[in-house]
Amino acid sequence: MTDHSDKPSGDSLVEVCGLVVRYGGIAAVQGVDLRIGAGEAVAIVGPNGAGKTSLLSAIAGIVRPSAGTVEVSGRPLAGLALSDVVRQGIALVPEGRNIFGSLTVMENLRLGATPRRDASVAADIDRVFADFPILGERRDQPAGQLSGGEQQMLAIARAMLSKPRLLMLDEPSLGLAPTIVDKVYELLGQIRAQGVALLVVEQNAARAFALADRACVMSRGVFTLTGTPEEIGRHEAFDAAYFGVAMTPTAGAA
């Protein structure tokens, strides 16, 4: 595969090399290279079925790559149990948020701190409640009763309680009203300012570009364009790359 890796800013936190993810005979990710530096924000955009979620799932340890490697601070993730990936400093907010609807808001947050053994978990949860009063008011209610936007805030806060070095988000704006999306991205901006690296998968390219240091356009399992968001936004091939027509001209737009 072509080398689409590019220079990370600062030390390399996560390094993905030649990653291939197959489901049965179908290759969802077909050889991706990606480096994420400490504190760097990277956006991956692309159409439905481009392999973005599969890439994220492989980095999070949910699916095993068929080929290629994922390393965190030089240490390979292969062979680690799924529950140990978060202990390497990688947290995931999956598509659809996946909060525990039958558990209370408080319980969801406590679960977010699972890898931690330090005494400041309670203080950190109090800080979440201070930042998001609505979560504080509803701390003892089942999280399934929250609105979509509140659930997204809860999912992000829950992931942050593991004190990750890299926070990965799959479609954080999906199904949310524009004003709520503003709030979500405002929060992501604050998280970035704390020095946490971000890897955001989005169909909503404009939102992700505004946040990111670097962006990758993914289509049919490969990165078709990488660069700064400005470079990619200006690139005349962007639309084609985004919609996947550049790869196989006969296939037509997605």
């Binding site: 799924l82 529950s83 525990f100 558990l103 319980e107 406590r110 679960l111 890898p115 399934g144």
Partner: protein
């Protein structure tokens, strides 16, 4: 008349309690693994044989032996049979659970024979006590008490401990629980250990009631309790306990209320009632929220 009604009611509640404990044991494993563990019957059976082994020494030792035996067998089954099948589809798990169940039962028949053996366990509890003019069997009252205590204790464990919280999270969305760092092996082994503990309690009470131990014991309990978990709502623990309780109560009430010539068809009426419940509420009486396995 009033006294008779109370006797029937106490009988029904005590049998309901046994089924509720059995259904809870099955429901716990289904919750975290989506596995219907028919080998739960063999946990009850092995605990029964532990009682047989130790009852002559002391009742306390017999109870302890039952708990240790059932918990160890539960952990052994999980480690050797079900852990390698983690994530397999439900049909595979179901067949594996039948295989484990048959394997242990037949092995036991080979080792000790299929003849029932008499056990004079807790016979002091067989006597009647008179409460407010109603004569009741002490063992039934003890059964109710033990059932209530264990249901409350299990609820407390799930609601108030860290491991219980992790189990509830894993039961709702196992994959997400792992993504958050919850260790699957620990949660599943704990669920099996608790199901072993519940099986041991059921075995002790059941053996005390029947005075018999045999390799096939537990099977009837588990099948009826499983029906209870289905009508209660598969995947929901309160549903499992409640469904098991209802089925147990219904069995006794049918026995008491059906005209004598229809009593032999008790089970047919029971399953008819189950079918009606499932037609009206296919998700069960207390359905589980989102039975999700993957993100």
């Amino acid at each position: 008349m009033m006294g008779q009604a109370i006797q029937v009611l106490v009988d029904a509640v005590s049998v309901g309690g046994l089924y509720a404990l059995t259904a809870l044991g099955i429901g716990l494993i289904f919750g975290v693994m989506r596995l219907i563990n028919f080998a739960h019957a063999q946990l009850i059976m092995i605990a029964g044989y532990a009682v047989l082994l130790f009852f002559a020494q002391s009742a306390a030792l017999a109870v302890l032996g039952a708990v240790v035996g059932a918990v160890l067998l539960a952990l052994l089954i999980e480690r050797t049979a079900f852990r390698p099948l983690r994530g397999a589809d439900p049909a595979t798990l179901l067949i594996a659970s039948f295989a484990v169940s048959f394997f242990i039962e037949k092995t036991m028949i080979m080792l000790v024979g299929s003849r029932p053996k008499g056990v004079d366990f807790l016979s002091a509890l067989a006597r009647q006590v008179e409460i407010a003019g109603v004569r009741l069997q002490l063992l039934q009252l003890v059964t109710i008490l033990v059932s209530v205590v264990l249901l409350v204790a299990t609820t407390w464990f799930l609601k108030s401990t860290r491991l219980g919280l992790e189990m509830r999270a894993a039961a709702e969305n196992f994959r997400m629980a792992e993504v958050l760092g919850i260790r699957a092996n620990r949660v599943i082994a704990t669920a099996f250990a608790i199901s072993g503990l519940l099986a041991a309690a059921v075995a002790c009470l059941f053996v005390a009631q029947t005075g018999l131990v045999q390799p096939r014991m537990g099977l009837q309990l588990v099948i009826i309790a499983f029906v209870g978990t289905v009508i209660g709502g598969l995947g929901s623990l309160p549903g499992a306990a409640f469904g098991g309780f209802l089925v147990g109560v219904a069995t006794i009430l049918l026995q008491a209320l059906l005209p004598p010539e229809l009593r032999v068809f008790r089970e047919a009426f029971l399953f008819l009632a189950v079918a009606v419940v499932l037609v009206v509420r296919p998700q069960g009486l207390i359905p589980a929220r989102g039975l999700k396995e993957r993100i």
